[in-house]
């Protein structure tokens, strides 16, 4: 059988291709800066209790202070340490970003995969459904869902996920439609593979790269949307240290203690920037159309 030959040569080839891709990635300055920013946020989130104090501890004697040696990002309107709140807020924002993206990626990709591989009528139904959700103004729908479900982290995640899955459905379907005509799919059909086997075993692995690129952007966008919801008061509620609601709570301190509202806003900015840079870099390196 040819199988022996296959197993002997294939792993090495895969290895070298992967190694080449990784080396190309690490030579892309966007990817490197993005990864550095993301790593910093992840480390801060992981070690928040060790590197900062209690984010809920109030001290009304020191409210709205500028940075000092004791509170290096100052204190908020209730005398809470801004650094402690920003550090603990990283946990919430990262969790929201990852959970929203994981949820919408799974739902959206499955719908796109099914739409692309199970024939015209199913495709039509699923894509019209996607079109309807794409027509919604994302923040308004998310706001309505979040307000109706009640404000909590889980409901914020759900609300943002409801508005972000359609882009995956479209992306995956378009990829699948293009891939379906390729020879390896024809071969699988000829060998008698079932539709679902073809979809999940043959097509899915081939659309993972565009999904990954989209996901990188979406983590940042989800964090931005969720923080926006909290800013207008329908997302994560005080006193939970969430970056968007921290900006809202401290906006009146912008003249006297500008750091208190700018620190959480800058945390949002750098986190989103990190994921955007990573997404840009991944696209440049991995997407054959983007390769120059």
């Amino acid at each position: 059988m040819d199988n022996t030959l296959d197993t002997a040569t294939q792993p090495r080839k895969v290895q070298s291709e992967r190694a080449r891709a990784i080396s190309r990635l690490l030579h892309n300055s966007g990817v490197v800066i993005g990864l550095i920013l993301i790593s910093i946020i992840v480390l801060v989130a992981l070690f928040a209790p060790l590197i900062s104090s209690d984010p809920l501890l109030q001290d009304l004697n020191i409210k709205g202070q500028n940075p000092s040696s004791a509170h290096f990002l100052g204190t908020d309107q209730l005398g809470r340490d801004v650094w402690a709140r920003v550090a603990h807020g990283a946990r919430i924002s990262l969790w929201v970003g990852l959970a929203v993206t994981g949820l919408s990626l799974t739902v959206g990709s499955t719908i796109g995969l099914i739409a692309g591989s199970f024939g015209r009528s199913i495709d039509n139904i699923l894509m019209r459904l996607t079109d309807i959700f794409l027509a919604f103004p994302s923040l308004i729908l998310a706001m309505a869902i979040a307000a109706a479900l009640g404000s909590s982290i889980q409901n914020t995640i759900l609300a943002v996920a409801v508005v972000s899955w359609p882009s995956y459905a479209r992306l995956v379907r378009a990829q699948v439609l293009a891939l379906r005509e390729r020879e390896f799919v024809e071969a699988a059909v000829a060998l008698g593979s079932s539709r679902s086997r073809i979809a999940f075993k043959h097509l899915l692995p081939n659309v993972l790269t565009p999904i990954l690129i989209q996901a990188s952007f979406d983590i940042g966008q989800a964090i931005l949307t969720a923080a926006g919801l909290s800013f207008i008061g329908v997302g994560v509620q005080p006193p939970t240290p969430e970056w968007g609601s921290m900006v809202a709570e401290t906006r009146n301190l912008i003249s006297s203690a500008p750091w208190t509202s700018s620190a959480p806003a800058l945390a949002i900015l750098f986190t989103v920037l990190g994921f955007n840079l990573l997404g840009d870099g991944l696209r440049d390196v991995l997407d054959p159309r983007g390769r120059k």
Binding site: R128, A135, F136, L139, I145, A248, P258, A265
Partner: protein
């Protein structure tokens, strides 16, 4: 062409119907009770029942939906649970504010985004390019409400160059309501003082609302133009001695128009989401702020009205963009 247009308009109707179905479904499955929100936690059982009766919320869901659709076809979106007014009247009052703000914001993002993108592409990898790319990256990642807070603090509070939230200074009287857009109404009434004041009030919220889109447009214009500038026909045109301004405007930009148009369509659709945050901060009486207030008071008829309007606008914008493709690229036709 006409058949295509008819098909697409049919699709718009379908999407709007789907939006009603989806919002109605969401309104049913959520645990929040609008009666409790409207009457407060201490409301008595019979008060709540009477309130539900008044707003038709005690009927079966299918019947409620049927009534809603029937009223919708006669142009009635129902009554807001919060303001007690007809939602069509509410939307008519608040939509011009958003329209006015959005138009200025789009103007700002186009006037800054596209030239910045062209500029960056022409100086690829030199400092103007790096500067534009850096600004675009930051613009795409900044929470716009923080940008609003900063700009208000700097340009209004510290420097006093621009007015704060609102559409007009308090001592000025609104011009006679014709379009609902204060600036245009003032022009129609030939009231230059009110006109300039409304323009000044528009600058900050329009920058805030347009910043994200300006960043996106700059990036898209840059990459679309770079793609085109690599093509053979540009080299040919260059070799034939076409002036560089004509080269960019007539040969390159025209061919870069399709991806730019696509982005434009997407950002017009996203304006309403941006308007939610911008209008909330700038106390701007528009659809975005109306939607926020509706959402926080579980005013579902009003939320449905806003989403319906937004869905309709998004679908029409997408249709408009698709039709413009044919204008930008004669090879595309919808015959």
């Amino acid at each position: 062409m006409w058949i295509y247009l008819l098909k697409r308009l049919g699709f718009v109707v379908f999407v709007v119907w789907g939006v009603t179905l989806a919002t109605f479904f969401i309104a049913q499955v959520v645990p929040g009770d609008p009666a409790v929100v409207a009457l407060g936690d201490n409301a008595k059982e019979e008060q709540i029942l009477a309130w539900r009766e008044l707003h038709g919320l005690n009927k079966p869901v299918i019947v409620q939906y049927g009534i809603y659709l029937k009223n919708l076809l006669s142009g009635d979106l129902g009554t807001s649970l919060r303001t007690g007014r007809s939602i069509v009247a509410d939307l008519k009052d608040f939509f011009p504010g958003t329209l006015e703000l959005s138009m200025v914001a789009v103007l700002f993002s186009v006037l800054f985004g596209i030239p910045a993108g062209i500029f960056a592409a022409l100086f690829k990898n030199r400092w103007p390019d790096l500067l534009v790319r850096l600004l675009a990256l930051i613009g795409g990642a900044t929470p716009i409400y923080w940008l609003a807070i900063l700009l208000l603090e700097l340009l209004n509070n510290r420097l006093g160059w621009l007015p704060g939230p609102g559409r007009l200074d308090a001592y000025l009287i609104n011009p006679p309501n014709i379009t609902g857009m204060v600036g245009i109404d003032a022009l129609l009434a030939r009231d230059s003082e009110v006109f300039w004041d409304s323009v000044k009030h528009l600058i900050l919220p329009a920058i805030v609302l347009g910043a994200f889109n300006a960043a996106l447009l700059a990036r898209m214009t840059r990459s679309a133009l770079l793609e085109v500038l690599n093509q053979d026909y540009i080299r040919t045109a260059k070799a034939k001695g076409v002036r560089s301004s004509a080269l960019i405007l007539r040969h390159a930009l025209r061919n870069a128009a399709i991806p730019i148009l696509t982005v434009m369509g997407g950002l017009l659709g996203g304006l309403l989401s941006g308007a939610v945050l911008t209008e909330t901060i700038f106390s701007w009486p528009g659809i975005g702020r109306y939607a926020t207030q509706a959402a926080t008071s579980l005013d579902f008829p009003a939320i449905m009205g806003v989403t319906l309007l937004a869905g309709l606008l998004t679908s029409l914008i997408n249709l408009g963009v698709d039709l413009l493709y044919a204008v930008a690229d004669p090879r595309i036709s919808y015959g």
